[in-house]
Amino acid sequence: MTRSNFKSRLLGAALVGLLALSAPALAQDAVSAAKAAGQVGEQADGYLGIKGSVSGEVRQAVDALNIKRRAAYTDLAAKRGVTVADMAAVTGCQTLATRVSQGQIYRIGSGDWQVKGAGPIALPDYCASASQ
């Protein structure tokens, strides 16, 4: 192995380490950018969804956040004695109401992706009592 080869490998390893350290922040940034680009959006089920095909980086970032969300939903659901899906759906009401900006996409049920207009999103019926 030449010296320069070793150096570049070391640099690579350092970069990987740096990436691992800042992974959550990166995932957050990647998802924010993808949401702004209309590739990723909030779903009524409480998770992020992907519209069409996206880069592997975006897909990984979405998966990472969804896994963390599910962990949080599971935790809360156990505390409150409800199903994970219920906890996720109630959070979905909130994310649709507060985490989708105008021009960003969102999806309710198994419906098509929609673009948020100037007004508030027409939430599913069961969300009706969820104050915004």
């Binding site: 959550p24 922040a25 957050q28 940034d29 998802v31 924010s32 949401k35 009524a44 089920d45 956040l65 963390k68 969300r69 949080a72 809360l76 409150r80 409800v82 899906a85 219920d86 906890m87 759906a89 109630v90 959070t91 979905g92 009401c93 909130q94 994310t95 507060t98 985490r99 900006s101 309710i108 049920g109 198994s110 599913p124 069961y126 969300c127 009706a128 009592s129 969820a130 104050s131």
Partner: protein
């Protein structure tokens, strides 16, 4: 009890008759003509939403990194 060998077949006959009665008394279930619609939408009780919404709000507020704008 006295040994009554003729009682065995009678008991068996009774059991068979009872079983036959049960079978004929079953409700006939027919498959519906229309295809069954599977609803993929979220189904949730209003009461559950009310009970959990503060938790949901707190979750988002306390973990903004999981819910980027």
């Amino acid at each position: 009890m006295r040994y009554r060998p003729w009682l065995g077949p009678i008991k068996r006959l009774g059991a068979t008759a009872l079983l036959a009665g049960m079978v004929s008394g079953c409700i006939q279930v027919r498959a519906p003509d229309k295809p069954i619609e599977i609803n993929l939408n979220v189904k949730i009780q209003q009461e559950v939403v009310v009970r959990l919404q503060q938790d949901a709000k707190d979750l988002i507020q306390n973990n903004p990194e999981l819910f980027p704008k």
